[in-house]
């Protein structure tokens, strides 16, 4: 009897605990959804008559360095660089950092772009691995291109080398195999110029899924929804993350993450913060948190902005194996970042960062998979021992299931009302069906990958693992495998 009553107490505590957590999570999602809609409407209205082209040829446009680390990208590097060189922007330098590739990436660049080794005094503001050589083209057509060859040190180290070599006040950090829209920099540069009372230290862009799209000569010519389930689910997931999540956090000026695939930064602040941290696999998030922390601690008014236009396209993992590695790494990166900056949690000294964003990431991004898995296991256990009403459990599961679908549909609605990239008839319906299937198939896998990420971190696993991609060399980009660090 005593054992039963103890079990009952535990069951009640767990049940109420999970209830409260669920209510808090769902309420926060509703709030984020509302904020995102308001912010999106404001952005669409203000950008409808903004003439971005006035920056394209203006001598007053601020200089930007695009930093593109590359590792074993020999199959596609020439095309990727050509695509980046065609970006419309006057004061631009493109710095490709060859991070000790074992293939012929560097030689291909040298041959195709007529590169010669040059001498360049490199600022050693941030400590990095050794630079073996800096190359520039003898052909004035490619005068914007700088290629840096260095010892292998990882993505963060490669970006730090790029920062040291850069001669412009703003940097845009990208993945070299992403496709960037030609007017991307015009839109990314505007926030840095349009805010007078606060310093814009970083601006994030949207990353869209290129799987299924038509790519020609390194440029996206037609947008299609991915044909296969896994990339299509990720497309939906990215809608939620970018069109709702980041939009809402941007409205609150409390965004903690800018995608490593596409983000612009004020170089002076990046250097003041010490550049990218090579000791974490979540270097993109960690840098933004550190920059924000720096500005808060120095009491400098600042902003981190966000551009919701589809400006950057990337290949999503098309196999569960690669997807699992990616999500595992994202989880480890999040834990590492939150751990490094744990001082900020619930600390009023850090304003919204400490009282809002940090706790949200801790409880609803990091802990959510653990709570979810524990909740389901506990419920099954309780149900087996008669400690829980099975009907109640199923009803709760059904409610959460349908709320998740609702949130996805809201994200689809925001996409339809804003950029509406998927115009083939049936695309939106396919997305709706994907939203219904996602909680049954995709979501449990993501939860499992996140839990594995937690376990791997406890086992002190480091590194990215093999992230295979096919690249954009084919005319119609389809799912497949290729090599990537």
């Amino acid at each position: 009897m005593e054992v039963m009553s103890i079990l009952q107490v535990i069951s009640d505590v767990l049940a109420y605990g999970f209830w409260l957590y669920s209510i808090a999570l769902l309420s926060s999602q509703l709030l984020l959804g509302s904020l995102a809609m308001v912010q999106m409407r404001q952005y669409m209205r203000s950008s409808s008559f903004t003439d971005y082209s006035l920056l394209a040829g203006s001598p007053h446009a601020p200089g930007i360095s695009i930093l593109a680390p590359a590792y074993n990208e020999g199959a596609t590097i020439v095309e990727n660089v050509r695509s980046l060189l065609s970006i419309h922007y006057r004061n631009l330098e493109l710095i490709v950092v060859n991070d000790g590739s074992k293939d012929d990436s560097l030689q291909k660049l040298i041959d195709h772009y007529q590169l010669r080794k040059t001498d360049r005094l490199v600022q050693t503001g941030i400590a990095t691995k050794k630079i073996r050589g800096i190359y520039q083209s003898a052909n004035p057509v490619f005068h914007k291109l700088i290629v840096v060859d260095k010892e292998n040190g990882g993505k963060a180290d490669a970006l730090n080398v790029g920062i040291n070599v850069s001669g412009q006040p703003y940097i845009v950090c990208i993945d070299v195999d992403c496709i960037i829209e030609q007017d991307a920099l015009l839109k990314m540069a505007k926030p840095f110029l349009d805010t007078q009372d606060k310093r814009v230290i970083a601006s994030g862009g949207v990353v869209r899924i290129a799987n299924g799209c038509e790519v020609r000569n390194g440029r996206l010519v037609k947008v299609h929804l991915p044909d296969t389930f896994l990339p299509r689910t990720q497309a939906l997931e990215y809608f939620r993350a970018f069109l709702i999540g980041r939009m809402a956090w941007s409205r609150l000026n409390a965004m903690l993450l800018i995608s490593g695939a596409f983000g612009a930064f004020d170089k002076e602040i990046v250097i003041a913060c010490g550049g990218y941290n090579g000791a974490t696999v979540g270097e993109d998030m960690e840098l933004v948190v550190r920059m924000r922390r720096y500005m808060e601690e120095h009491r400098i008014p600042y902003k981190v902005t966000y551009i919701p236009d589809p400006l950057c396209w990337t290949e999503a993992p098309a196999s569960y194996k690669i997807l699992g590695r990616q999500r595992n790494r994202w989880t480890r990166g999040t834990i590492e970042t939150l751990s490094i900056h744990r001082k900020m949690c619930f600390n009023p000294h850090y304003g919204r960062l400490g009282l809002l964003s940090f706790p949200y990431w801790l409880f609803f991004e990091l802990l959510a998979p653990i709570v979810e898995a524990a909740g389901i296991l506990a419920s099954i256990f309780m149900a087996m021992f008669g400690g829980m009403n099975v009907l109640l459990f199923l009803a709760l599961l059904g409610f959460i299931f349908s709320f998740g679908i609702l949130f996805s549909i809201l994200a689809i609605l925001m996409e339809v009302l804003s950029f509406n990239q998927y115009r083939r008839s049936g695309d939106i319906l396919r997305l709706v069906f994907t939203a219904i299937l996602e909680p049954l198939v995709f979501h449990p896998f993501i939860v499992w990958s996140a839990i594995r990420g937690n376990i791997d971190l406890m086992r002190k696993k480091k590194g990215w693992g093999d992230m295979s991609r096919q690249g954009f060399a084919t005319k119609k980009f389809t799912a497949g495998k290729d090599s990537r660090r």
């Binding site: 005094l121 520039q136 349009d194 549909i409």
Partner: protein
């Protein structure tokens, strides 16, 4: 069980919202598809009208207004079609100049589309007001200046900036009168926009420029310096040089660049005088300026900067020496430490840049 009932009710609510949203999305897409088809049809007709307007030339002595095809007039019964036409005319106006652009303005007036744009000024929604202002300014509707000017003090930032740009677009330098009274900052973006609107305008008012250089608003001072440089007004160089002692870093930086762009060789003395008091950014800007406008008199100054502790100063000083020609290059080559690091790297970099 009350908990169960509540859950089922909540689930029913969520499912209801779900179905409503899905229904809304589908209906919206269907309507948008229909509207897109209509717009494509209108655009075809509008395109023909616009092409006719672009090449239209009145016959000598002919006072007949520009003809408008009946098919076009028929499509312009709907407000959406009219807005479509306005959009197409604006795109065309921005892409063209001269008689072709004037003809588009003529067509805009002929179709009385200014009334649609003016109607937007009355909207309580800020984005419609801003759009109306933008349309009237682009289509050179000077008759609306009184109404537009009222918006230059609007509480909404977007409307205010759009109105300020509109007045400048319509009246050139005269439209910059708001700089006398503005108490908000001019963002970099707005400054770039205004500079672009004025790029083909002449007759910069010197009296006003001098007044704006002494404005209490630092961004107005910065903008004025940019204006002086952009319009190559060497007679304003002494006034720009006065700004080298401004209390705001950004203004001093702009003053340095202005003197460089004006080619004001005789301000090199002033630049070298303020150099020691400047921060790194200011010093780099001064070295860059001297590289462009300096003479043999600055060679020693530049060579002295090669001994600076900051490598960026060394590099910029070396660049400036190379830019000053053969004398500067000889000066650099004869620098005693040129064979040591980092001066050897600096030398190789600047000579490589010069060769490229």
């Amino acid at each position: 069980m009350p908990g169960l009932r509540f859950l089922f009710a909540a689930m029913a609510g969520v499912l209801g919202m779900l179905l409503t949203l899905i229904g809304f999305i589908l209906v919206y897409l269907l309507r948008r598809k229909r509207l897109d088809r209509l717009k494509d049809k209108w655009r075809e007709i509008h395109g023909e009208v616009i092409q006719m307007a672009i090449v239209w030339e009145p016959a000598p002595g002919d006072s007949e207004p520009m003809p408008v095809p009946v098919s076009a007039a028929r499509t312009l019964g709907s407000p959406v079609s009219r807005q479509c036409m306005i959009g197409d005319l604006i795109k065309g106006k921005k892409a063209l100049s001269g008689a072709a652009a004037d003809n588009l303005v003529c067509l805009y007036n002929r179709l009385e589309l200014d009334r649609d744009s003016a109607k937007r000024l009355m909207s309580p929604k800020w984005h419609l007001q801003a759009q109306g202002i933008h349309e009237l300014a682009t289509m050179e509707q000077r008759g609306y200046v009184t109404r537009l000017y009222r918006f230059t003090n609007a509480s909404n930032e977007m409307v205010r900036k759009e109105a300020q740009a509109a007045i400048v677009q319509l009246f050139g330098f005269e439209g910059l009168r708001f700089l006398d009274v503005i108490d908000t900052s001019l963002s970099e973006w707005q400054q770039i926009q205004l500079l672009q609107l004025l790029q083909h305008t002449t007759g910069a008012p010197q009296g006003s420029l001098q007044r704006w250089l002494h404005s209490s608003n630092a961004t107005v001072r910065m903008f004025t310096l940019r204006l002086i440089a952009e319009h190559h007004l060497p007679e304003m160089a002494p006034h720009a040089a006065d700004r080298l002692s401004d209390s705001i870093d950004g203004v001093r930086l702009q003053a340095i660049r202005c003197l460089r762009d004006l080619g004001a060789t005789d301000s090199c003395g002033a630049l070298t005088r303020v150099y020691p008091e400047e921060g790194l950014a200011g010093q780099l800007a001064i070295l860059d300026a001297i590289g462009h406008i300096g003479t043999a008199a600055q060679l020693q100054f530049l060579q002295d900067q090669l001994n600076a502790s900051e490598d960026r100063i060394k590099l910029e000083a070396a660049r400036a020496l190379v830019r000053l020609g053969e004398e500067g290059l000889i000066c650099l080559e004869r620098f005693p430490k040129i064979d040591r690091f980092p001066w050897n790297d600096v030398f190789r970099q600047v000579t490589c840049e010069w060769r490229l």
